[in-house]
């Protein structure tokens, strides 16, 4: 799960990730996926290490990170709220869920609250269309959601550590 680390200095974990992969350029996306999963974003320090390890230019790594929506350059919040905007959810009114979350958190999609507690994103289909509309908080899925449920869930997490 996301280990919030603002410095990216914990290189021992990074070494652990890198050592699982051969020094083959085609492993770049696999490594970035693990780094993103571990830190909650791709720290600059990690990019430098990957660049040395795979012998790929920093610019190219930056190009790859910014191309794929799963990778981010800024840390996500402790609780990342993702509202599914896949078609099945859209048809069932997921835009209203997103609006409600924006209103409640006072941030836009792609942003993190100043205290680092919440981030909000609009995501593409997570494949739980039978439960549409859905949103997730970290890995917890909330199905058949309503704006009221969104408000309630955000309140619950606000009161959590």
């Amino acid at each position: 799960m996301n280990k919030s680390c603002n410095c990216g200095e914990k290189t021992s974990e990074l070494d652990g990730i890198l050592s699982k992969y051969e020094k083959d350029k085609s492993n770049l996306i696999q490594i970035l996926n693990e780094v993103q999963e571990y830190y909650g974003y791709v720290p600059t320090k990690a990019q430098e290490e990957i660049s040395k390890y795979l012998n790929i230019e920093m610019a190219e790594i930056y190009g790859v990170i910014t191309f794929y929506s799963r990778f981010t350059l800024k840390p996500k919040g402790k609780y990342n709220i993702a509202v599914c905007l896949g078609t099945a959810c859209f048809v069932k009114g997921s835009e209203k869920l997103l609006d409600t979350a924006k209103e409640a958190l006072k941030i836009k999609e792609g942003e993190t609250t100043p205290d680092g507690k919440f981030s909000l994103e609009a995501t593409r289909c997570i494949g739980a269309c039978g439960l549409a509309p859905v949103f997730t908080v970290n890995n917890e899925v909330y199905g058949k959601a309503t704006p009221e449920l969104m408000k309630k869930v955000i309140e619950e997490y606000k009161n959590k550590e």
Binding site: K25, S26, N27, L28, I29, Q30, L32, N33, E60, G63, V64, F67, Y68, S69, R70, F71, L85, G86, T87, A88, F90, V91, K92, K96, D99, E103, T123, R124, C125, I126, G127, A128, C129, G130, L131, A132, V134, V141, G143, P147
Partner: protein
Amino acid sequence: MTLEKIKEIRKEKRKELDLRINLNADTKEKHILVCRGTGCTSSKSPKIIENFRKILKEKKIDNVRVIQTGCFGLCAKGPIVIIRPEDTFYAMVTPEDCEEIINTHIIEGKKVERLLCKDVDDKLVERLDELNFYKKQKRIALKNCGIIDPENIEEYIAFDGYKALEKVLTSMSQDDVIKEVTDSGLRGRGGAGFPTGKKWMFTKMAEGDQKYVVCNADEGDPGAFMDRSILEGDPHCVIEAMMIAGYAIGANKGYIYVRAEYPIAVQRFQKAIDQAREYEILGNNIWGTDFSFDLEIRLGAGAFVCGEETALLESIEGRRGQPRLKPPFPANAGLWQKPTLINNVETYANITKIILNGAEWYSSIGTETSKGTKVFALGGNVVNIGLVEVPMGTTLREIVFDIGGGIPNGHNFKVAQTGGPSGGCIPAEHLDTPIDYESLSAIGSMMGSGGLIVMDDTKCMVNLAKFYLGFTVDESCGKCTPCRIGTKRMLEIIEKITRGAGTEEDLENLEKLAINVKNASVCGLGQTAPNPVLSTLKYFRDEYEAHIKDKRCPAGECKALTKITIDPEKCKGCGLCKKQCPVNAIVGEPRKAHKINSAICIKCRACVNNCPFKAIS
């Protein structure tokens, strides 16, 4: 492990698992099957499994086993529990219901009536096969989903698993395999419908010291989840088919490119690979033959364009997923410029059945040009949301109404959308079109990967086109100008129309631009991106015109064009709307007609949806 040993496992296991498919099995054993697909897992099915096992242990019941399976298909009724051999179907089960199911069903031998499923005609259904949802379906690609434990290779082997590979390796030449696939008439299930056998032949004929087999599991069409369900419910059938493909074209290495957003599928597929290696099904000189094969997972990272085959190859190689110019096609210059065969998950899922049952059997199903079955992810405004597999040639009406149970909440059918952001909308007048590749493109849509979203009469078609264009603008890779800039300009025009600022000239420009983007883009993404606009313009031009000429959104979805008012005749002054309003825009004394202050109203329609007297519109 030798082939003999595998055959032995098949024989033994098949006996043990007979009650899974033989509903008249004479046995004291029972299997409780619990869906562990993504949908049911999200609604706590792991906890249900845990509870069942705990209770069985406490009560010392040892003739009942609890099995996790893949998706049963009827996701709307999840979490689903099925008890075999009697085939009792329990819907929307919660972890708290486990005790009652064990006490009533297992111990007392009675049904738990309150958990039985109600069909659309309100009839209480006891058995799975009695549900209307399943009556018109034919499961080929999904054959094992919901029957076997996907994390147990021996269960796969029991139901003819790796038997097609055995047949291929022991009695068929490369050309025999390709001929069988060609004769079956199977076409690519990823969207474009290219004949699979031809692709295999091209890749076999291509010269190269190293060839690759790739499985495209980058299921990006929002609302489609059939590939995910196959990987989650029956991962070995994809491995087996990729091996057969490897044998046919002369490749010893395969890659499967899966969305990282599908964690359960990724984890199960990895487990399946590990087990196949452990049983020496994947590896060198398989079963003493000259054939060697191994397989690796590559994760995607959230880019829709990577579903395009050459972009996918770029991504496997570790770069930005931007499509390559074709030709050369991947069959000649694919992964690391080597001959590469790329097929979609569902395409592979048909292969083992074609090899075992023969091309003639497969081609007897379907229409003249489209053979076999197609899996659709049925979603949106339809009662039975879920996964359905039907023979090609089934009509849309049968899928939406007979299988899907029609439109809920008393609304009417407006359109069915197939093909996702690359497809189009099919209006009611075409409901009786038999579905196949040709008929769908003839009416301005496409098969696509199989997302089928039903929409009722409350949906605005201009807003829908805006939604899809927003998607393609986000997902355009930026390589070619028509797609990168063209789709953006189209979106701007549509936004202008939904704001009520559109002109008739805008509509003309939109249409012209759409055709240009379609004709001039490099890859499938750009070439099909205008489809949602073109098809809604074709069938619902009047809605666009209403937005432009009358500054009105007929469906009431485009917020800038709607004004919500309370009918003073119908309003009883109950105050419910006032309580619902999130911005306090409603004023009024109790038991007197209320009013909405349009300056404050954000048109969220909470009041409209909650008024007991239908006084607000």
